[in-house]
Symmetry: C2
């Protein structure tokens, strides 16, 4: 079990294979999606069997908000983007998570959302490690 992982919590295998851990927060595991085109993060509340935001306890809802705002601010700072898009869509994979992506005017997809883009080639190891360092330092 990774340090910070809540006992009994299991991350969906498809989400795990498509991303790498950034850090563990009070409620969520924060992960970077393996897609070299975008800086895309995923906040996964470490709670078993929760599919909708309103199914979290009031305390967990408050913690999630706090962590969303912290990550959104850090992402905007690191990516130097125009805005942060956010999505909850537990359609195919029924595990609650919040996706966040750095977006800027004129990027490949602007002004539409890009949540359903097929995952693209991951960053090379050096770029990935540098990005993870920057994200951790900004939190």
């Amino acid at each position: 079990m990774q340090p910070g992982t809540k006992s009994g919590f299991e991350l969906d295998a498809r989400l795990e294979s498509n991303s790498v851990p950034v850090m563990w927060l009070g409620l969520c595991e924060l992960r970077l999606v393996n897609d070299g085109r975008w800086i895309r993060l995923m906040l996964v509340p470490q709670r078993t069997g929760v599919e909708e935001i309103h199914e979290l306890s009031p305390l967990d809802q408050a913690m999630l908000t706090f962590e969303i705002c912290m990550v959104s601010k850090a992402l905007k700072h690191v990516a130097q983007c125009d805005t942060v898009n956010m999505s909850i869509a537990c359609n195919a994979i029924r595990q609650l998570r919040v996706d966040m992506i750095a977006r800027s005017k004129g990027d490949a997809g602007w002004p539409d959302t890009v949540w359903d883009d097929e995952p693209c080639k991951p960053r090379d190891r050096k770029s990935q490690l540098a990005l993870l360092d920057k994200l951790r330092a900004a939190m």
Copy 2:
């Protein structure tokens, strides 16, 4: 000014023309998007000049979370859907709002997101009023 509207707050004209008011909550104006294909709601915090969730004050962040969870639960109940998708994407229109849409397995678009669908014909007046009544009763 509508009852419940915060003084000085102005809803973007494009958002206003594409939706109708459901009710005013403590922080947000809750609106129903004019698209007969989906039950799609929009929560707009009544705060001027806010484009990102982390720009809200901590109290407003807490209120937004409370209102998101209340609306998500009501939407799931009224729509009898499988899940509620949620999106923040202030790309073309730079006013913070949370979009929510009722989704079910096998709907037109499943399992993708449908945020960028062109708005379709609105509901007829009778269906719209019935839906608004149901949503208000569930809140």
